[in-house]
Assembly symmetry: C2
Homo-oligomer: 416 residues x 2
């Protein structure tokens, strides 16, 4: 007899028992499974150029120029539409990327290993705020920064991490940062300086010269999102550890490509359930309004999938200055998420709630029964290619994707 | 006619308008006003060797050995009791030191400048947790660490800070750390890594070699109290900016020497009002109990004097794992302090209270009227010289010192 609760407890035990360690930084196509030399990974469920939104197209163009495959936007578009460059979801390759999430073969990526279960996960490097590739910008300065990150910072990070036998325990770092006002998705201020501080002595020792050490330490330390990408890879490693458990109704993927939002369920294999990505509500940078906003985009909802991000907002009252709302709204966001989750995290706790574990493991049955969808903290991209970030805010996935998943679950497990 | 409220608003305007910038690290007797070459500064109000507690005696002995004035405890005691080494409060020399606060002429100190009003303040370097001079330990390893700090770390910090034209704005750093779960006295985890992160590129550039850079970055980054001493100097600079305003009833000093607690009032000049230092309630390290605890000690209550520390505990719910109590107790501590203070800080805000300013500027009239004394977060020293820290907790000053101060105020301003 099918015991759904038991299956879900297996999933949660694996997700929360996973211990993701940052090991190194390496060239994407050298380490990401089945990543071809003419492949671009992107955020969210599968999508074609024709259906891709402005920021995803911009990032694809930028990646083609970065790789030297194309000189401009129309040449890049021609390559992709002719099938000479393949598009594939990061999630199909054990990877995740924030916003557009575009990762090309030569880009350096973080390599995170879940030492409990042995699986690995990958994420690209964080470029900082504003006009950046992941928001669809691809001007010369954007590409120059990417090249510096790839050719100067990434090798130094790899050399620095090589000096650490134990690697960097990202779950422990996250647990600490949740006690320091982060929620791990849109607010990673504490995590990023913890990350910089832990790496600093290793960077000083591994650097080819003092100026390179100083430049990398400044780049990491000034960017309040430095740790977002290792955190996302860690969350991916945790979520993947819980994926594929027969009979489970726990969500193990939630991701958006700027057009569609898709989820996957532990007990339903690799099938995506998709619907329209949301239009975020939030605060806009000076000069921009909601009319400029693209639909929600990015794999960063892997954080909510793993029990942090919007689910841990009660730990991060100061985030409301960035995404709108009041500290009480932040508290309420976490409290609401307990309604649709199957566990309280054993490693991630919230001081302001008496050290209660974060709500973890979305159960699609509860979502559909209560009509409460997961909350998402997110950055907001301009709808046109080439512009970049215009704000940050909150959104939710459509209820329909959970209804579709539950229907598929019923078809597979409960009928016939 | 005497307008007390107006005088107090002048004090608060000066305290909150002060902008303390960390400028450099220098030899104590070279920069601290009127510090003699045979003088030891200590925490709290004036005290003699005869009345000094174990941890203060231990720190005095350690400092005499550090300076090469004495080979052991009895030789050090002989020098001090013979008057060949002078004891003086840090507070008499624009300085502050945590716990015993003992600062000798050759020790390197932080130099903080209040750029709004031009006054300077000083504090020694932080040694980390456990067996350290400031808790009265003076074994060879304690002295060896002090020498490394003085001879290797301090010159590098000075060189690093010299690369920064604007210096390090400690008020801005504190404001940020209060949004990251610190209260600035007993919890400085976020502030210390912010501090390390800001200095890291400068340290990398200024270091004589990579190993020295790495060692200093590790020492600063691993010590969750690294920034306490610059923070204390910053609070001293802020409090001193408000001192000496005719007619004011605002407390501008609160400090303990391990025997007595003393306060000073803006409108009452340099006169101390003293009473017995409290016995902290708190959590003890394994192997120690309340029977091992010394009376409360240290100048670190300059943080509460300036509107942070226990007064900002609502910002730091995770601190209860270290000092005992619940997150609600931490919230209540802050709420209670609004009862006895004259302002809400314009730079220091608490996200969980809807970004309300911290309670700032203790008014001795309110303390006496309500019978509510200021709250203090504190470390707990072993009562015997040479042991070190045994725990952390909470205490309060005796009400009598506020009654005495108010009586003196009445004598001076309201009678005759």
């Amino acid at each position: 007899m099918l015991n759904i609760e038991q299956a879900n407890q297996v999933v949660l035990g694996r997700m929360m028992g996973a211990r993701p360690i940052l090991r190194t930084v390496a060239r994407a196509a050298d380490v990401i499974p089945a990543m071809g030399e003419r492949m671009l990974l992107h955020a969210g469920p599968p999508i074609t150029w024709e259906r891709a939104s402005g920021p995803l197209r911009g990032a694809i163009v930028g990646a083609c120029i970065f790789e030297g495959w194309a000189a401009d936007a129309s040449a890049a578009q021609a390559l992709v539409t002719a099938g000479e460059v393949t598009l594939a979801p990061c999630h199909h390759h054990a990877a995740v990327g924030p916003m557009a999430g575009v990762t090309s073969p030569s880009m350096k990526v973080y390599v995170v290993e879940n030492v409990t279960h042995g699986n690995k996960a990958f994420s690209n490097l964080n470029e900082g705020y504003g006009k950046v590739l992941r928001y669809g910008a691809y001007s010369d300065d954007v590409l120059a920064r990417l090249r510096w990150m790839n050719d100067t910072m990434a090798p130094l990070l790899a050399d620095a991490l090589a000096l650490s036998e134990e690697g960097l325990d990202i779950r422990a770092l996250l647990a600490e940062s949740l006690h320091m006002g982060d929620e791990g998705h849109n607010r990673n201020k504490a995590g990023s300086i913890l990350y910089t501080t832990r790496l600093a002595p290793l960077i000083a020792r591994a650097a080819p010269d003092a100026e390179t050490a100083a430049a990398v330490l400044k780049f990491l330390g000034d960017n309040a999102l430095s740790v977002l990408n290792p955190v996302m890879a860690a969350c991916k490693a945790m979520a993947d550890a819980g994926h594929g458990v027969e009979g489970s109704t726990i969500m193990t993927t939630m991701a958006r490509n700027g057009t569609d939002l898709g989820i996957r369920i532990s007990g339903l294999g690799d099938r995506w359930f998709t619907g329209p990505a949301g239009q975020p509500d939030g605060l806009y940078f000076p000069g921009f309004t909601a009319a400029d906003a693209n639909r929600d985009i990015g794999d960063s909802t892997i954080t909510e999938t793993a029990g942090i991000g919007a689910f841990a907002m009660a730990a991060a009252p100061a985030i409301v200055t960035f995404i709108s709302g009041t500290p009480q709204d932040a508290m309420n966001a976490t409290l609401e998420m307990y309604e649709i989750t199957a566990a309280e995290h054993t490693a991630f706790t919230i001081p302001a709630l008496g050290f209660r574990g974060t709500p973890t493991g979305v159960d699609i049955r509860k979502v559909v029964e209560l009509g409460i969808t997961p909350r998402i903290n997110t950055g907001i991209a301009h709808r046109e290619a080439g512009v970049g970030q215009v704000g940050a805010g909150l959104t939710r996935p459509p209820l329909s994707v959970f209804e579709d998943a539950l229907l598929a679950y019923a078809e597979r497990y409960l009928e016939g």
